[in-house]
Symmetry: C2
DNA sequence: GAAGAATCTTGACAGTGATAAGTTATGCTC
DNA sequence: GAGCATAACTTATCACTGTCAAGATTCTTC
């Protein structure tokens, strides 16, 4: 099982490579995504990295989109984990937004994929919707705790959706280079600043 | 120079010179984008729609990306217009968020392009950055008016960036199908609900 | 009119996702 | 173990994409 040539020689295929290919493909895709960014993520590149023929993936995924969807689902699971972990001291909202933002900043390619339009249009993979819903549910619970009084479920939902919109918007603008945060500012400061901005907006009203 | 056949027949190339090709290409691309969505927006499809050879665009745009960038810039100019127009009665913030959201809802493909990662990475077209900055500047001025007291410029900027993050995040989540707003709710209601949610969050803190 | 530049076309190349048909390994049944 | 059905993987190929190079056409300027 350990032939694993770093880079499959393009000359001749020596082994057939039966094995659990799907997770290997996902791993390779994830690494390729982090290293080269999306756009470089072709099935051929992924397959070559694993050392397998360009069309081998089709025996495990219906299409390129489905592979990407699995990747995105994995991203949502990681995000859920992050949101669950970083809930310690300080204002819960600030903490959670910071953790969210750091995840996006640290994994821009995956984040882009998670919320990109590559496959989201049309019907999505059930596992993806599930992972996404779970991440949002976690956020929702945190927001529910944040709100002082016990509230209507729909109110909690609206507040969570609004918070999600804000932090996702900030992350999206940052990732796509729309806002270039000067290095002197830093991520934490950016989140603090904008949260303070929101606070000021809603005090003034 | 008004030969200008409305729609070139795709069968045979009868004339050589079309005239001012660049705007025609942009127009065709815009319509194709609205009708078929991104992903269907290939240079070949655009060229064929204008009735011109597949590579004609390269005499007016350096690459496909540059054409898309011009399209995005146009989108930002439209958005600026929308933000300037819909500033009448009611709370300015709600009005402006509504206008913004309606624009995104009404032009999902262009909006996706404006904030997508297709070309934003790397150096962007100056005209695009300019149009984007102008749209944000407009938002910034609106937010400045919204805030009661005269404020520090950086505070205004932070508040505007936060507001932008929120409404962009909401639009992005909607466009990518992450949140499916039930038809019974409607756009206005969604914006109202989430704005109310934010208010509640920042009151409770 | 002719020269030269701008504009547009044809032809080609490398790369992409995807399908179809053939090849090899795995596992099941006796 | 032998035989065979099936899953896993490969090769060959297709249609499509962005892009470049070189040729054909039109416009401009003298």
């Amino acid at each position: 099982m350990q032939t694993a040539p770093k880079k499959a020689s393009p000359r001749k295929r020596d082994t057939y490579h039966v094995g659990n290919l799907a997770p290997q493909l996902l791993d390779a895709a994830r690494r390729l995504l982090d290293e080269e960014g999306p756009g470089k993520l072709s099935l051929r590149a992924v397959s070559e990295r694993v050392g397998v023929s360009p069309t081998a993936a089709y025996h495990h995924f219906a299409s390129r989109g489905e592979l990407l969807a699995h990747l995105a689902a994995q991203g949502f699971r990681e995000l859920s984990q992050v949101l669950a972990d970083d809930r310690e001291d300080g204002g819960p909202l600030l903490q959670v937004c910071l953790a969210y933002f750091r995840f996006a900043r640290g994994n821009p390619a995956i984040y882009q994929l998670m919320f990109g339009a590559e496959f989201v249009s049309g019907e999505t993979l059930p596992a993806l919707a599930e992972a996404r819903d779970e991440a949002f549910g976690r956020l929702e619970r945190i927001i529910a705790d944040e709100l002082a009084l016990p509230r209507d479920a729909s109110e909690v939902r609206a507040a969570a959706l609004a918070s999600w919109s804000y932090i996702h918007g900030l992350a999206s603008l940052m990732i796509h280079g729309v806002i270039q945060v000067p290095d002197a500012v830093g991520d934490e400061r950016l989140v603090e600043l904008t949260l303070g901005g929101l606070q000021r907006v809603f005090r003034g009203t």
